[in-house]
Amino acid sequence: MTNSIHDMGGMHGFGPVTPEPDEPVFHADWEGRVYAVQRAMGATGLWTIDGGRASLENLPPLAYLAASYYKRWFLGLERRVVAYGLVGEDEIAAGRALRPGIRLNRKLTADDAKTISFAHFDRPATGPARFKAGDRVRTKNIHPATHTRLPRYARGKLGTVEAVRGCHVFPDTAAVGAGESPQWLYAVVFTGRELWGEEADPSIKVSIEAFEPYLAPA
């Protein structure tokens, strides 16, 4: 779902930001375990990072808002292992395995985990970039029912391409199992007034990282 509660940019009513002095990395042991299980299951290659994000966005809005960050990860992960047929609902209810697991292509070992690495999402270009730095573009007014990374506040807005980032995995297709379909990625900058109207502070600019299918020439 795209027009879901996760798309928060520009919303009012959530109150002030409350920084916590000397914040620990995790506030409870289970948070660290959720983080680690998520990383380890991600390494099996069964789903993409975009599929993982989509499963969080599909949480009911009230559950999404009520859950802390790692609880949200946990709820998304629990849904995903069931949806992928890795774990049965009966096993979740029982709190233990009732059947042997299915065979996975990859299982992360303690040795693998010693190397801290971050995935690459750039891919060889399949064609020339349509835009270059300095081009005026208008973001499309799209509302797909599936995952997208074009936030609502930046749809149908006039902006300027500031940088060409290369060709990257396209979240909109990767999230729904429709392939990486690499697309050119751009930094597109908007004035505060374009996004928020004439009353907006003129000293503000906001940029998003926009995939080519989100953009039309202007």
Partner: protein
């Protein structure tokens, strides 16, 4: 939550999907190996070494990965420089994308609804909640992390730190100053601490 999480971990372990020793290692990595000390080292190097700074602003992943002994390996990292004209602030309105490779895991406030909702529409109000007031002549630039590109703010080097060592400078670079919600510590803080 402790029980529910333990149950899921048990199921996944019993079914052979995860190795508890690997999970221990992953937790250790984020608790002890990665964190804002890495970003602080990168910023301090940029302050003292103009050639490194140029390379950092050109291709931050390559520049960061060129630092000796650097682990993890950053990908798609972009460094944005604060100047008297422009102050940069990083946010992820759609989830909580954050430059893990140089700052570690994000703090709770970065992942919170107030920060994610308001930073793009009222950045100066958000900065005020962090105790940051910018000069009236400084513009604010928000970077919404909507793809896999990740942003590291290079704050301005504090005045009065001429001749300081890279290590002493790194101690002034706070996590928040590399997200854009803070400024580096003033030099008097550190010299007092050293007394």
């Amino acid at each position: 939550m402790q029980l529910r999480v333990r149950a899921l971990e048990t199921i996944l372990t019993e079914k052979g999907y995860v190795d508890p020793a690997a999970l221990d290692q992953i937790v250790e990595n984020v608790e002890t190996k990665i964190g804002p000390h890495i970003g602080a080292r990168v910023v301090a190097r940029a302050w003292v070494d103009p050639d490194f700074k140029r390379r950092l602003l050109e291709d931050a992943s390559a520049a960061v990965n060129s630092l000796a002994g650097f682990d993890p390996v950053a990908a798609h990292l972009i460094a944005v420089e604060n100047t008297p004209q422009t102050h940069n602030v990083v946010v992820c309105t759609l989830c909580s994308c954050y430059p893990w490779s140089v700052l570690g895991l994000p703090p709770v406030w970065y992942k919170s609804a107030p920060y994610r909702s308001r930073t793009v529409i009222d950045p100066k109000g958000v900065l005020a909640e962090f105790g940051v007031t910018l000069p009236a002549t400084t513009d604010v630039r928000i970077w919404d992390s909507t793809a896999e590109t990740r942003f590291l703010v290079v704050p301005m080097r504090p005045a009065g730190t001429e001749g300081w060592s890279e290590e002493a400078l790194a101690a002034l670079v706070t996590r928040d100053s590399m997200v854009g919600t803070g400024l580096p510590k003033p030099p008097e803080d550190e010299s007092e601490a050293a007394r």
